[in-house]
Symmetry: C2
Subunit: 240 residues, 2 copies
């Protein structure tokens, strides 16, 4: 049984319960979320609008270090500089204030709205895709990518043409569904300058490992990938 789900829109899951973003933010303030972040200077006596400064509910933090549910099999630089090797990966929902003891790096990203897919493509993806976290999906890959300045200076129609008409990004991905599940995180528009523009997290069963390798090889051979200036491929297995 495949759980059909649309993760890619990046909508706040709380919205599905009918709870508004505003209500959530007020709750976060009540729970001390804002104070913990230290964003507002409450000592000033000001009365900032409630809610600002709470963590984006679509934020995920990936901590490479000595703890976490995922054991690191390999950390390979595909294009550009490598990332330091680590023993474990901890995938945290939300923010992490400081790198924990033994941590070597921390990557952050937010799920968001689709940037390129059309309604037709989206419907086909939703029909076929699975959500992360299936019990049999014991293999994982985290692939951080940064695209070059030339890519970001392109207009929307130019990037879309490279993404799909020339590179078949969605078409390639669709071939490997539902075996390979995927969640995309955006980093480029975070308030801090991140090392990457995207973090894509994939999970799959051991029997789909070869298929996954084929998929990334296909994508890396595309026109779109000529704009990738840094890519690291981190392979993981679930700690039983």
């Amino acid at each position: 049984v495949i759980e059909k789900r649309d993760d890619s829109a990046g909508n706040d899951p709380r919205r599905e319960t009918g709870q508004s973003r505003r209500t959530f933010l007020t709750d976060a303030v009540a729970a001390g979320g804002v104070a913990a972040l230290g964003f507002w200077n409450t000592a000033s006596g000001a009365e900032p609008e409630k809610g600002a400064g709470a963590v984006n509910p679509r934020l995920f933090t990936f901590v490479g270090g000595k703890v976490g549910q995922w054991s690191v099999v390999s950390v390979k630089a595909v294009i550009g500089d490598p990332l330091p090797g680590v023993e474990r990966l901890d995938i945290v929902t939300g923010a992490v204030a400081a790198l924990p003891e033994g941590g070597k790096w921390m990557l952050r990203g937010v799920t968001s709205n689709d940037r390129y897919v059309t309604r037709d493509e989206k419907d086909r993806l939703i029909e076929k895709q699975a959500a992360l976290g299936r019990p049999e999906a014991t293999q994982m890959a985290l692939i951080p990518i940064r695209k070059n300045a030339k890519w970001w200076a392109l207009t929307q129609d130019e990037r879309r043409a490279l993404f799909e008409e020339k590179s078949k990004h969605v078409t390639i991905g669709l071939k490997y569904l539902p075996g390979v599940a995927r969640r995309l995180h955006h980093c480029r528009d975070l308030g801090d300058s991140e090392l990457f523009d995207f973090l894509t997290l994939f999970d799959f069963a051991t029997t789909d490992s070869k298929a996954f390798d084929d998929m990334v090889a296909e994508l890396r051979a595309t026109e779109e990938w000529k704009f990738v200036e840094r890519e690291v491929d981190i392979r993981l297995v679930r700690v039983s």
Copy 2:
């Protein structure tokens, strides 16, 4: 003389000098930028990759309070909840750690790549537009906007069709160039949950005030605006 400039691509201006993002980040670390942000726990003895945690060079912070170069003429709720009225607006390049004494709110956003414009539209915009900061542009407007969940669940082709084919967003904007200059900041994918999705900053000469009012009225009457669930219109004049 109009200075032609492409602010909207949101590229790091440092790249224009040939200095890479990586180099900039290393410089920022050397200057204590990361330590000041307190993002990395250097006391842990870990050796995080240099650079992560530095402020995004495309980040701007808008502080409503008692200080700043811009005097607040009015703060009007157009759709949804208002923002507290303030005396001054301070426009800060980069991050602001805490709300200053007398501050009532702080809005943040990053300039970024274009989401909808085509190459043809972009070329016409670049040909005609001016950059913010002309000496005669003593009038300013800051217009924070949040779009609803329905908008963000649309696919790229659906949002584009609403944006231009149905609402003529670029076409309307072009009519008012170069009199009205504009800089768009994105907030939705920041790590903190912001009150708005976009902050648009406009400046113009007093003689263009009527034209500016006409432009926002035209935009507010479009199909696209039916997806706006919160909009505040903040008018400002430069403090001489």
